[in-house]
Symmetry: D2
Subunit: 339 residues, 4 copies
């Protein structure tokens, strides 16, 4: 690795973009932010100022800038495709927040462009792969300490959904993390998705069906169920219990000081995903920057293929939700390029 | 309550019968065992001897004996119907191990006989209703401390299934407990059942599909999922997490001394259902005997109606298992007699 | 064991006496209450009525009554000696709530009377010996699974002390349980006691020094520390961590449903000692009654010798508290009668 | 903050020094290692190579080098004084691993030099102040959520002590962390120390008394007890329970996936201090480097005064250990410079 810092351009100065700007500026070794793009130039400026970078309105200028060695995309999913294609064309490494793109067809175009360029450049921001607990769960599965995996029970709970959050977003914005985590933990592809709903919480906005239970099947015959509950009210909680032939392992348990006070024992629940997965984001971006400086990609991270596979599962999930039927996940054959 | 002990006749001297004999003899106040019936007279004698009772071969003689005030039935489910009818006809209180009868039709005949007799006499041995943790979970649901219930996540795991245990038995011998617990916890009837299976554990006997995931729907729109895993290998574990509008509550967590030893923290898992639910059985039988001495039934316990409803859910469950389809649970209207 | 119930006389109709009356009447097999004595005859009558027994004012009449097979003493410790001596003289089994007597000298007189009578009759109500968690901790120590014991860390916390509770009572009413539990868990005698105090809680009554830390040494070189905190405010909590050469084991952890609600995870704390040790009391009295019907004593229970040893440790503890000095525990040689 | 990286010189290339080198090179933003000094030049070279820095034999040359903006001292405590004095004289910020110096007298000389230089330059490496759990415990104490603090119960356990580890080192190498943590958590000075020992583990080297129990008193009347057990065998464990007027809080509980396997539930124990406190070290050094680039010191970190106070407590602790007596901690008046 050279002693030269990786010069990063950031596209998107919303909540996630601002978080990444601070991360790169204050906590990541060997990388610094040089430019921030956002259609809202004031917002871009504000984020750029926190990191001593410049602000721009046009994201393509940032991607093309000669002092930008690598790009982080944190803009809405619907605009990812052209940004990714530009970065791939220029040949710069890119860390793209999930989703890769909103649907499998556009994801496939990204895959094709990357393969045509002949070099792996794209990483998708599935940060759970960098969480210490998930990593330990994967180790237990990979080493066979739990025996062959048979079931996964997942719960994904948010205290409240933002205004405008739809039932479909529960699949492609929330459960998409379980889609990727399942594929990664098991090393298997997803084959089918079903979605069930019962009575909704009174705390859900009108029209939102919340909670829902998503059932997933895999190529290895593992049954996965996911409770997605975006207005659970009490905090942010991500749990996963793997059941194998030799035992079970549960992650996402309760942490922090154990209090005894006022007739109750227990502790506080993490408030949001940054609170719960902050260290995972740090590790993700540090490893991404380290790999980028070496001219490589982080093989432990999610590739464009993983982004495509997640998009395909989301598409099946949204259809299953609408139809009330089990829906198969359809994937093209995996190119050797992503082996 | 009189100072006179309740004189109990026991029908069935197998594992469960022997357990009840010891319980009544050594741990229950105000009751004593006077007679034990079993087709295998030697076995009946052995159990009778542990409690200073007499042994008989014919169960109907025990039920009819003038010194028998109340009857415990712990024989196989297929022979329950005539025994129950005899006890009802004589008008003696009867505690019948689950199932009430193996199918809803025969259960209905028991209901009709009891109603015709004009007095509630039958209690079904769903002991979880007497478990301290289940009772506390019900209190949390009844008081509204969790808000309106939305989901139940259940896991029911046995270390190993006995030889000859079939996939159908996973429903009517094991999940039947979750059927009753769901009805009792929620105060709702079950409306439909689905069953899914994936890859089976290598530890399952040939032909047994294990684990399976059973999905239940209720009249109140609660979604219930049950992992039934009868060869999990590691111990006996019964968990239930209730998810409501205001929070969640999990029972069946890990107990006992917390050890730190050899690089590991944790403790031992209960070995079997008697280990886990022994105190619940004691409380069940004590309350049953107390009520019987007062000439009443324990209204907190499972009635013949509850036994019937469980049988109907089992029938639907076995069909769902065979067909791979969601199957509706069909119930007759609930008689006022069981209101 | 005969089929005849053990007829029990109860001396003392306060909180503890009423609790034992109910226990014997409703939950214990093979025993029934026949007489209740209390200086306050109304109170005696009230308790007797709950169990269909008769009330008397004179405890010695109850102990002498021809229909009393065994005696439970639940009166204040200062009057135990003559009651015990009367029961011993008559030769009836007696379950005496702690303390045996308030000081080692009077305890010794009870030991001498029992030995002179030639038969073990006295059991002291150290109920922790019958708690499932303590029993499991003792098993871990006895089997050597923790290796040789080196340290015990104990905490004994009450939500609030009753009016009039003194610093001395913190030793002989509260820590006395840890004195006995230490002796029983380790199978060692106590050799010295020290007591330290720091700043007192504002919730303590004026003059009460609360919390205090009691340090105990044993014949086997085990260091024991006990936090006694009788106005901790938040609930009733009894913890014990044993540290051995091969590992540690902690009992008294938190139980019951685990809730997630309002930003907090956790559960409720037991409210008082009956809530925490109710099952232990039941087991204690059941085993005592069973042994009494067999004409024996329960060898797992605390004997008069154990009551004496606890009284000696309390005497040393109160002296250590007053002097601020380490104080040795003085014991007579253990008679073979109590081997 | 300038965009210029802080150029760090490292003194000491042992286990801790190598760890810091990697940290600065790979995980810390805005700092880079330029020089590594160690009497063993090969070892210096090896560590320097991992971070693209140069190796030197003479630590004073590194401290004096014109391209060194700040210094990390990770050499043995006995040589700290002259290194610190050199760094202070040159006016460069210094992060000194604990202890500041091995005894309060030499620590005082460092304080005097720093005060004479007129600027705060020295930070002592008490990394627990940067641990998320300790920080949360301090927050609970500072906000009064636990009420006034009354007691701290601490356990500090290592799997095995390195060869040559002495009873005195248990105080000044191990318990020194609890001395600092107590002062920091409570915002109080230590007033006296006592040390008790019982039977030693068979796993301790000959002559080592292990475990020991250290009792500490504070200016605010808080009683602190510390179990120090450096051959506990089972893993690395640091626990602290704070007991206040309104409740208790325990940190250092068990983490990671909860497994159910082979009749046991639980998880793995952290293996060593880097495993447990790795994130705290990262945060400590990141904050130190950030402050150094701003020309400031991190006020949340341990100052030279804190290093001196810890040295004074260690001196009292070693005396208490030798004498078996309660020993007072003697401190000079705190200079305004360290207010």
């Amino acid at each position: 690795m050279t002693n030269q810092d990786l010069r990063v351009g950031l596209v998107g100065a919303g909540k996630m973009g601002a978080d990444h700007a601070l991360r790169i500026h204050e906590r990541i070794s060997g990388a610094r932010l040089v430019a921030v793009a956002d259609p809202d130039l004031d917002r871009a400026q504000q984020v750029a100022d926190t990191a001593g970078a410049r602000a721009q309105q046009d994201p393509f200028e940032v991607i093309a800038a000669s002092d930008v060695d690598a790009v982080v995309i944190a803009s809405p999913g619907v605009v990812h495709e052209p940004l990714l294609l530009a970065a791939i064309e220029r040949g710069v490494p890119v860390l793209c927040e999930k989703p890769l793109t909103p649907d499998p067809k556009s994801s496939l175009r990204v895959l094709e462009a990357e393969e045509a360029r002949g070099r792996r450049l794209v990483q998708v921001g599935f940060m759970r792969r960098f969480d210490a607990e998930y990593a330990e769960l994967k180790r237990l599965l990979d080493t066979g300490e739990l025996g062959r995996p048979l079931l996964l029970h997942c719960a994904h709970r948010n205290p409240t959904a933002p205004p405008g959050f739809t039932s479909q977003m529960m699949i492609f914005d929330s459960v998409v993390h379980e889609f990727d985590a399942t594929r990664w933990l098991l090393g298997q592809e997803l084959t089918a998705v079903s979605v069930r709903a019962g009575h909704s919480t009174a705390l859900a906005a009108e029209g939102l069906v919340d909670p829902q239970v998503v059932s997933i099947e895999t190529t290895g015959g593992v049954l996965v169920d996911v409770e997605i509950f975006v207005n659970c009210g009490f905090g942010y909680q991500v749990r996963c219990e793997a059941v194998g032939e030799r035992g079970t392992a549960l992650i996402g348990g309760d942490r922090g000081p154990v209090l005894h006070r006022g007739g109750q024992w227990g502790g506080a629940i993490t408030a949001d995903f940054r609170d719960r997965f902050g260290a995972a984001f740090d590790r993700e971006v540090q490893r991404w920057a380290d790999a980028a400086r070496r001219g490589e990609v982080d093989r432990a991270a999610a590739s464009a293929w993983d982004g495509y596979a997640a998009a395909a599962a989301c598409e099946a999930g949204v259809q299953a939700q609408a139809s009330g039927q089990r829906t198969e996940v359809e994937l093209v054959d995996r190119p050797d390029f992503y082996a």
